[in-house]
Amino acid sequence: MNYKMIGYVLGRILLVEAALMLFPIIIAIIYGETKIISAFVLPIILLLIIGLAIGIKSPNDNSIYAREGLLIVALSWVAMSLFGAVPFFISGAIPNFVDCLFETVSGFTTTGSTILTDVESMPYSLLFWRSFTHWVGGMGVLVFVMAVLPISKGRTMHIMRAEVPGPSVGKLSSKIRTTAKILYSIYLIMTLSEIILLVCGGMPLFDSLIHSFGSAGTGGFSNKSLSVGAYNNAYFEIVIGVFMFLFGINFNLYYFLLLKRFREVFRSEELLTYFGIAIVAVLCIAANITELYGSFVEALRYSFFQVSSVMTTTGFATADFNLWPTFSKVILVILMFFGACAGSTAGGIKTARLVILFKSCIKDLRRMIHPNAVSSIRFEGKTADEKTVRGTHLYLVMYLIIFIVSVALLSLEGKDMITTFTAVATCLNNVGPGLEIVGPMGSFASFSSAGKLLLSFNMLAGRLEIYPMLALCAPALWFKKRKNDDSE
């Protein structure tokens, strides 16, 4: 285990976080929130001291293997969240540190679940920081660090694999640094275009920043208690709805578009399935809620926004879907689990895994009828190798185990069944709102500290796709080898 290298990368991450905290300071200066500035300066100093102490000198042995990769990713996210929570605490905006942590984890993991009941009373700089964590967490902190700073010679693939969501990670170019740069450029350009479109439609600049960060990272923090519904503006809803949907698409496909490799994009099974699921869901819900909103077109407007928001695991709301008929609510909860495409900023199980799972079910069914049939699973025009398929099955099992255990633990809080169930679902899938108490117009404030920590763990597990967080619990990764014992 190369502890020095882990420390080095962690130190680098903390330095980057210190740099990121300069942005909310600018906002604080613009809005004259002089008292809040110190709430950011203090953690910046703290980050600089710790970051420089462990991250300044690169160790001689800079090799990273799979286990280091997993630990680096898990530890960085925990450390980022801990330090990111400090401004909320120092400024006194959120008095309880566990609440601060929950809010920050929810930000970095692009969940968007909140414990705040009155968002409008928060200072601008803190609101900005809250949403900015979405943007940073969406594409991945370590991917960002890799784009900017060279970490290690080779082998950084292990880090990328642990952080980028999806069953398999493709490199866009030979060098991991170039790949990270391409991904971040696409991300940045798309975010900027959303900001511009929103500002052109008349949304205040600050609000459009907040909502663009929220939809880019598929997070869902808003600066309004009523979320996007507060504007009651069809243009905003369409822009945000469409962009949420776009950020749920695999970023590699955008790169292929730039390279004019259209065939690969439009024949992508995952993309087509993603569209298919979305269209079916929008139509079903629209038909189901037509009575509530008078006309089908009006129903379509709300249905589209909610489906796009929940499916991409963003969590913005234009309507309180808690009040919708059961059928619509069930579809939305199912979509929470489905999630969007692999390689996007969204959470959930991911469409790619669904396709593989569905196909392997079909394959096994066929084998029941023709016991000796030889067949393989094809995905994206290629045979999916046994390792990917097995990995996908295993992922689903792990996912369910974590889900079931979390629901069981959270039920000790004594909330009703739907609240407990959807609270875990929404956190594990990084969506944001659930149903009943934690519905789009509710909040997570009423949970105990232990419950909030459990949900924070769920959010991190969901964002990092379980394994890094589990690795954090594996003793084999922690203990140094015993003397006279060469095996690890």
């Binding site: 799979a66 010679k153 080779g154 082998r155 950084t156 693939m157 292990h158 490199k171 170019s173 030979s174 060098k175 991991i176 640094r177 170039t178 190798d385």
Partner: protein, 453 residues
């Protein structure tokens, strides 16, 4: 540069490692998806699983925008096809590994038509390396520069060696031979020594000089072993064939031993001057019967590394002749060489990758002084590069004492156009048309102008 490597065998892997470390954009293609996965995990490269000779796969790798394609799959035909397809798709340069001697002749005739910029025959290249060692058995390894006018020799200082405890400045003063010790490997440490450096036992030293001076030096020191004249080769492989050809043409007597009768027969048909013996090369009785004591050199060339190691251990225990073993796996080679169990070790992978690296360095600078030869010494950590000096060089005619060289760079030797060999001092300078040997630990040097600060 964007470089595509088709086939990740031993050579492919060495190339991937070195080229990605040289900051090239590398894409590897192999049919074995697991292997591709492993390579992508270990090196900063992109991997594609598929047949590297197919149009679709090459398109996926975006070959048309690549500068170089290197085909090193086990099959000659696939390598040629891969290069042909790549050339049609618009790649600038192609290198193929081609081992079958039957293709040799037609390659010379139709290299252009096949779309090859260079064809490498690793067995032949390695055989050549072995023959160089046998020509100068005192050395562990011998590399040549500037049309064999300058040699670079690796030598290990053993027990009771006259060089032990010698200060370099005194050595140069006493022997009156133009020679330079340009690098010393002591354990894991590498030194580019100055005059105060004192040699110790089990140091590995690297000397440059002209062939005549080297011989003189070793004779002075009383550690000279004359050219081998009777050589025993175990294993009738392709490499053995090439080696035997070389050695016979140099007038040596060659004995080849192999247990496979068919191969022996083929070998004796092709090589009328060699004595081919069918028998078990690991059988000590047979080796004794074939007079191993009388041999000057023993070369183990079977296809299995382990067998070669055992064979050469046996031979070096039994006689005092020069023992050379072909060991492809690096970890094995380190094992036997570091403990001095075998005199010299050669590996096809290293020889091949050296040639290809030399090619890529030259490709990178077509404008100024080009890399003529590249050899990697001290476990691939130090490079010895030969540059041809052209008029584009910034410091022609400037004495070296007026130049500020970068750290870890040594000008080891200069070969003037008129044939004069200079071991440079502060008053020497470069002229157009010179060949100059640079020793450096910076393993990405490709332009002579870059040696200045």
């Amino acid at each position: 540069m964007k470089i595509i490597i088709v086939g990740i065998g031993k050579v492919g892997r060495i190339l991937t490692e070195q080229l990605s470390a040289d900051k090239h954009d590398v894409i590897v293609i192999d049919c074995n998806a697991d292997l591709v996965d492993k390579t992508v995990n270990n090196y900063d490269v992109m991997g594609i699983a598929g047949n590297g000779a197919s149009y679709d796969v090459q398109n996926e790798a975006n070959v048309s925008s690549a500068d170089l394609l290197i085909a090193t799959t086990p099959s000659d035909e696939i390598n040629i096809l891969a290069c042909l397809v790549a050339k049609k798709l618009g790649v600038k340069h192609t290198i193929a590994r081609i081992r079958n001697p039957e293709y040799e002749v037609q390659l010379q005739v139709m290299r252009e038509e096949l779309g090859l910029s260079m064809a490498i025959n690793p067995e032949k290249a390695t055989a050549r390396e072995i023959s160089r060692i046998l020509r100068f058995p005192s050395a562990i390894k011998l590399e040549t520069f500037s049309n064999q006018r300058i040699e670079l020799v690796e030598y290990k200082i053993g027990k009771d060696n006259p060089l032990r405890g010698v200060k370099l400045s005194e050595l140069y003063k006493n022997i009156h031979v133009k020679v330079l010790i340009c690098a010393v490997a002591r354990g894991r440490q590498i030194y580019i020594p100055t005059g105060d450096f004192v040699l110790e036992e089990s140091d590995k030293i690297y000397l440059t000089a002209s062939p005549q001076d080297l011989k003189l030096l070793f004779q002075h020191l009383g550690i000279f072993r004359s050219r081998a004249s009777k050589v025993m080769i175990v294993g009738a492989s392709k490499m053995a064939y090439y080696l035997a050809c070389e050695l016979i043409s140099m007038g040596m007597k060659v004995k080849i031993i192999d247990s496979d009768e068919k191969r022996c027969r083929e070998m004796s048909e092709k090589l009328s001057k060699a004595l081919v013996i069918c028998g078990d090369g690991t059988d000590s009785e047979l080796l004794k019967e074939e007079n191993i004591e009388q041999m000057d050199a023993f070369v183990a060339l079977t296809g299995v590394d382990e067998t070669n190691i055992i064979l050469s251990l046996f031979a070096s225990g039994y006689t005092s002749c020069k023992v050379v073993a072909k060991i492809n796996r690096k970890s094995f080679a380190d094992l036997v060489v570091n403990d001095g169990l075998v005199d010299s070790v050669v590996s096809t992978g290293n020889v091949t990758s050296e040639i290809i690296l030399q090619y890529t360095r030259t490709m990178q600078n077509n404008t100024t002084s080009s890399v003529k030869t590249l050899h990697r010494i001290v476990n691939e950590k130090v490079e010895a590069l030969e540059f041809g000096v052209t008029k584009d060089l910034n410091f022609i005619g400037v004495a070296f004492k007026d130049l500020e060289l970068k750290d870890n760079i040594l000008i080891a030797a200069i070969a003037r156009r008129d044939g004069e060999i200079i071991i440079p001092g502060g008053n020497d300078y470069l002229l157009e048309g010179d060949d100059v040997i640079i020793i450096t630990t910076n393993t990405s040097l490709n332009d002579l102008n870059d040696i200045l600060k």
